[in-house]
């Protein structure tokens, strides 16, 4: 057997670049979005590259990758890349191939063109019921249902500014949804149910106790089994205990569902980066097409489109009109769950007589 290779790291980033990028990296002068999904970059040397951006499902088979490879072979000498938001970009060097590529994409039907500029681009998301052990919701199915509904906005530039939607299927937030224009978050609402008969065999009790951020878990003896007890009043349903201890599952058909968050951003442009804020505390899981979630996301998007100035991000709009107005414009209900009661809660309370009727 050949010597075992380790620690070689990934292929170098320029290995798969088209020649025009090898020749012009660091020399790009400007870009222009010619139409939704089609970007032109022009170099100081006059060289040009066209990128055609298409949405993908993120969760895909090798057959889907082969579909992409075939198109890349035919129109891009085999070159393509993925963006950070699960879009694929076909890199075109020969302008005469641009229209035929677009035609072929439309014919293929599974790679919609769009996701540039003032669009609603693809949803960054996590695993859901397709792979993870802690989800409160599915990921791919919710994304599919929401993107079907918002499809017209993916391939157009009708938003006031770019809109980034993210989804995470539990509070771990592998998709890091906490700074998105709209975030779809899976939440549990019941404390873990404890399998006392097996807990001591499956878990290390001290690490399980230590895993709880609110110190809700205590050692307990139940019917002669060494186990733990959870103080339900302190539990914030974060699932940390379950990650440490499989004998404490949280998942529950009635307990689990979706919370919607709005107004986050990561860019430094104009206003400071912002966290997303709670808009809808809970929507039940409604597989297979999550109609209430889909409807409420649209409600938020439409209020934003109607009210925001051009170039204003969703969070900038909400702050300008005030959150009291945001709830009025979106028609969403404000409840006691919207008022923070965790550690830095007081920093979010209103401490002024300035507010709107």
């Amino acid at each position: 057997m050949a010597e075992r290779l380790t620690d070689i790291g990934p292929p170098k980033y320029d290995l798969f670049w088209p020649q025009v990028i090898k020749d012009n990296a660091g020399k790009w002068l400007y870009h222009d979005i010619l139409e939704p999904g089609v970007l032109l970059h022009v170099s100081e040397t006059g060289a040009k590259i066209w990128s055609v951006r298409c949405g993908t499902t993120r969760l895909m088979t090798t057959m889907m990758v082969e579909d992409i490879c075939k198109l890349a072979d035919q129109f891009c000498d085999g070159h393509f890349r993925f963006t950070t938001r699960n879009n694929v970009e076909f890199l075109v060097v020969d302008e005469s191939k641009l229209e035929p590529l677009k035609k072929a994409l439309k014919a293929a039907g599974n790679l919609p063109i769009g996701g540039t500029g003032a669009s609603i681009t693809n949803i960054v998301h996590t695993q859901g019921w397709v792979h993870c052990h802690t989800p409160a919701i599915d990921a791919s199915g919710v994304v599919k249902a929401v993107m079907d509904d918002l499809f017209e906005y993916f391939g157009s530039h009708k938003m006031p500014a770019q809109v980034r939607i993210s989804l995470a299927c539990c509070l771990n937030m592998c998709g890091a949804v906490h700074c998105s224009d709209i975030a779809i978050l899976g939440v549990h609402r019941k404390p873990p149910v404890i399998e006392h008969t097996h807990l001591d065999k499956m878990c290390e009790i001290p690490t399980t106790i230590a895993s709880c951020p609110t110190a809700a878990i205590k050692p307990a003896k139940v019917d002669d089994f060494k186990s733990v007890a959870v103080n339900a009043d302190r539990c914030m349903f974060c699932g940390n205990c379950y990650t440490m201890c499989p004998a404490m599952p949280l998942a529950d058909a009635d307990g689990d569902g979706i919370a919607l968050w709005v107004g986050g951003k990561v860019s430094n442009s104009k206003s400071m980066p912002k966290f997303s804020k709670l808009a809808v505390p809970f929507i039940p899981n409604e597989p297979p097409r999550w109609p209430t979630t889909v409807k409420m996301v649209r409600q938020i998007v439409e209020a934003y489109v109607a009210g925001a100035n051009r170039y204003e991000r969703l969070g900038e709009w909400a702050e300008r009109i005030g959150w009291e107005r945001f709830f009025e414009k979106t028609g969403l209900e404000f409840t006691h769950h919207h008022i923070d009661d965790y550690r830095f809660a007081a920093t979010t309370w209103r401490t002024s007589t300035q507010f709107k009727w």
Binding site: T6, I49, I68, N86, S269
Partner: protein, 423 residues
């Protein structure tokens, strides 16, 4: 005949204009991939139950690596034997995710022969995620991947796979070579990436400019964000062309017919109000500019970042677990980023040493800094305090002085005091 489960609920997700993962997985199942048929079967069950059906991972992996594989088992393996084991293999992506069909086909070939054929393109840290391997295939997959020049990414309490935006390869805004920095860090810290040895995970992300397309300041323990110290470069002819309506606003982001009103769309929205436009000349008071990128985003053909470029380093971002979400805080306002990045790496190693010594188990560096104080951290990494480190100075009056900061120290004699003050 290929295996097939009834999936009436999932079938509903084949409708509608957005690409359907169900349709894609079905066609793979039809080629005889039982893992794909069983994946759909188990997912259908989850749709019925409104609960997932995967068990905790357990420890699986490849020899000599502490991460890169996430164990996953079905909790209904009798119904869906094809996904009894469904481990994830994280394959480290090339920075900025450029591919050539020829090379990626070879990876797909491995995965078709030895795995389920299911993927995430890509995981949220950036890796190619191969979804669904049986334990006894892991070493073979690893051997074939490395023989083709690919390696695993990070998982567990280790350095996670660094990622970057596409930087200078195709973006005119990039102030640093984001991909090279990403690649250099990945290669320099292979041991930290493959052998978890820390209190918890640690992520680097590199953004070429403050637009932060890879969300470094929200999603990485150490964000490297390109910026500049000199003046924004202005092309006067192009400014005139924008004023004349020859170019689309915002690089065409709102359509080719949306033109720019330089006063209203650029100057009035500048957060520091440091721009002026008299109908002919655009001037920028660069000393007051906070390099937010707004004006450059609006007029990419007329404005460019300066030439004295480097990076701002923000440390400590993380998702909410446990104490609430944090964004990165400015630690190094400006650092030159030229290969081999020695100055930056010295900073990184000081930071890791401090965290390794002071961090508690499962504590991200941002939480350690919060617990022990930003001032303590700055001292550990030998950075002088600067107003750029804060939004505003403290408003609470409880300042902790150290003994050596006060003349004469803390040791005093009560007798001396009593000489001056009656009891």
């Amino acid at each position: 005949m290929a295996k097939k489960h009834q999936t009436p609920m999932l079938d509903e997700l084949e409708k509608g204009p957005w690409p359907s993962f169900v349709t894609d997985i079905k066609r793979m199942a039809e080629t005889g991939k039982d893992a794909c048929a069983d994946l759909l079967g188990q997912l259908e069950l989850s749709y019925k139950d409104k609960e997932g059906h995967w068990k905790h991972g357990g420890i699986v992996g490849v020899l000599g690596y502490g991460g890169g594989v996430i164990g996953r088992y079905s909790d209904v393996p009798d119904l869906f034997p094809g996904v009894e084991h469904f481990h994830t293999v994280r394959v480290n992506q090339p920075a900025a995710k450029y591919y050539h069909s020829e090379s990626i086909r070879k990876i797909m070939d491995i995965w078709n022969r030895r795995g389920s054929g299911m993927l995430n393109m890509h995981g949220s840290t950036g890796d190619i995620i191969m979804l669904g391997a049986f334990t006894d295939e892991l070493e073979n997959i690893f051997a074939e991947l490395t023989s083709l020049g690919w390696d695993l990414g990070g998982s567990g309490s280790a350095l996670r796979t660094p990622s970057s935006c596409l930087g200078q390869s195709r973006c005119e805004f990039a102030c640093i070579n984001a991909e090279d920095i990403c690649y250099d860090l990945t290669q320099s810290y292979q041991d930290e990436l493959h052998r978890p040895a820390w209190p918890y995970k640690f992520k680097f992300k590199v953004d070429g400019c403050p637009n932060c397309c890879v969300a470094s300041l929200a999603r990485s323990d150490c964000a490297i964000i390109g910026t500049w110290r000199d003046d924004i470069r202005i092309d006067k002819a192009a400014v005139a062309a924008y004023a004349a309506g020859e170019f689309a606003a915002n690089g065409g982001a709102h359509g080719q017919d949306v033109k720019l009103d330089i006063q209203k769309d650029v100057c009035d929205l500048c957060p520091t109000q440091c721009m002026a436009w008299d109908g002919k000349t655009l001037s920028i008071n660069n000393k007051e500019c906070t390099r937010c990128m707004h004006c450059i985003n609006m007029m990419p053909r007329a404005l460019r970042p300066g030439k004295d470029t480097g990076a701002s380093i923000l440390v400590g971002a993380k998702a909410p677990i446990l104490d609430g979400a944090q964004m990165g805080s400015v630690i190094v306002p400006f650092i030159k980023m030229e290969p081999p990045y020695e100055e930056f790496k010295e900073f990184v190693e000081k930071m890791w040493e401090w965290w390794d010594e002071n961090g508690k188990n499962r504590e991200r560096i941002g939480e350690t800094i919060q617990r022990l104080g930003l001032g303590t951290f700055l001292a550990a990494v030998e950075v002088e305090p600067d107003p750029r480190h804060v939004k505003e100075p403290r408003s609470n009056p409880y300042v902790f002085y150290k003994e050596d900061e006060v003349p004469g120290g803390f040791d005093r004699k009560i007798e001396d005091y009593r000489k001056r003050h009656a009891r």
